[in-house]
Symmetry: C2
Subunit: 306 residues, 2 copies
């Protein structure tokens, strides 16, 4: 059995006329008659009752016709789909964000993707720490990571997007909240709250900032994510140093302050170096072309969330 035969059958079934069907198929009439005969012989079923004046579907032919129409339509759809998947128009993109970058960048990211590539389904992994993202990329669990770089890993392409200052998250009633800008060296005795993972890039930025100010941070508590961390700050258990992206993440009871003397931290975009996915390629093009990431989330002014 061949698709051609099914297409021929379909044409004859629609017109109930071998001559006209042959014309429509750009085929001579005898070829069409033979092809349909072959189909009938292979099925062992008479699909048409023919006289020279009348061609008519048999009952079996009617059933087969509706099936064949559906089948051919399905095939068309499958062909279109495989082409879309291959061109990256359709597919799934698995993206990870760190806790703070999710707050600042996810909305723009989702907006660009939804407008430019509406047929790409997004699978968002929010609040994934940088080392976990690296691992997930290497294990092909995600396709794209927004992480705190730079990262030393040959198998990944890591492109810095944004250099952000660090911010200080303080309980609203903290002794330093009146200061518009806090000095890093004033924090030497403060209890710090950090992310749970030892390898967190934000934790490293904290360590580096403290080192610049000639003290070692006193780390009192650890939280698994940004929300939990800020909840501990709000509860007055300590203070935290976070990327400027976290500014809008401050809940009630936490105020954000610019810090003088702290290091900066980079937001980077990471993909597998050998990833050939057309979906990824299209996504990166669209993001570049439509102003992702946001130009910068840090502002010189203090901004309170009480």
């Amino acid at each position: 059995m061949e698709l051609k035969q099914l297409r021929y059958f379909e044409a004859v079934a629609q017109t109930c006329h071998f001559g006209r069907a042959a014309e429509r198929l750009h085929l001579a009439q005898p070829a069409l008659s033979q092809a349909v005969r072959r189909l009938e012989k292979e099925l062992g079923v008479e699909l048409f009752t023919r006289t020279t004046r009348q061609v008519q579907l048999t009952t079996a032919g009617q059933y087969f016709h509706s099936d064949v129409r559906r089948l051919l339509a399905n095939l068309e759809q499958s062909i279109e789909r495989v082409r879309n998947v291959a061109s990256g128009t359709t597919g799934i993109l698995r993206v990870a964000f760190t806790g703070t970058s999710a707050h600042s960048q996810l909305p723009l990211f989702a907006q660009i993707m939804g407008q430019q590539l509406p047929d790409i389904a997004l699978d968002i992994h929010a609040d994934m720490l940088t080392p976990d993202q690296v691992q997930a990329l290497l294990e092909d669990q995600i396709d794209l990571g927004l992480l705190r770089g730079p990262v030393e890993e040959q198998r990944l392409l890591v492109r810095p997007l944004l250099r952000e200052p660090m911010l200080l998250a303080l309980p609203a009633n903290h002794r330093l909240t009146p200061e518009p800008v806090v000095e890093m060296r004033d924090l030497a005795t403060e209890p710090f709250i950090t992310y749970g993972a030892e390898l967190s890039s934000v934790n490293e930025a904290l360590a580096a900032s403290c080192r610049q100010a000639d003290f070692a941070p006193r780390i009192m508590h650890r939280a698994p994510g940004t929300a939990a961390l800020l909840a501990l700050v709000a509860a007055g258990l300590g203070i935290a140093l976070l990327p400027a992206s976290a500014r809008t993440a401050a809940p009630r009871g936490v105020v954000m302050r610019d810090v003088s003397g702290a290091t900066t931290i980079d937001l980077s975009l990471a993909v597998r170096a050998d990833d050939q996915s057309p979906v990824l390629a299209r996504a990166l093009d669209a993001l570049d072309a439509h102003g992702f990431p946001h130009p910068g989330t840090s502002t010189p002014q203090t901004q309170e969330t009480a």
Copy 2:
């Protein structure tokens, strides 16, 4: 595009090995490689990433693979179905019964069909008068009719199945209910209830029976079907002469009595003379082979339903 190519693709996608897939397809390896290449070229999509050591579906190939599997399975099903329809194993049979024959014959009919030809869907038209059945057969609204014959119609094949005596339906409190057998001539003054249609075969049997007994029936009421007719009898509005098949149809308040001096009535099976339907042929064979119709519904004994 050809089905062959889809089948080849399917085999390679399953094995991820051109050599083994070719073997399974009883094909040389180069032919398979070429066929898959042709498919890829036509789609404009790379379906496999190949090295001499590793064959692997691309993302697009994975999508296409699942689609193709479904497609080929659907095709198999369609082929099986068209063969079943052609052989009469599968299909629809539209059957009409007269009101009384539905009571006596429909259960056996349905049982035989359900057991012998479970894949034929039955479309039952019950309580259809003989002339309506003839019309419906000629208009191809039904395939098989159980009607009161004989019928003079060249385009139908009508086969008598059963010759039944007529029964008398009486209100339970009627003056004649004590009689085990009622004489036809005793009914000359009774009010009769008949079917609504003038051409009803049962009505004709009533007329013939009365003619034999030398009186013309006094027809008081008309009912559109057996149930309504018997309800009028139960209400005491009159009596009715019905085929023996109606014996089990008597509701509360109606008694059935054998009649002496009445005509008989035939139950016949009718089909279109030119009907080639394999479903019909199979059904008729099954009915013949499994003792349809019931040997006879009339019994010499009186039987009451009070």
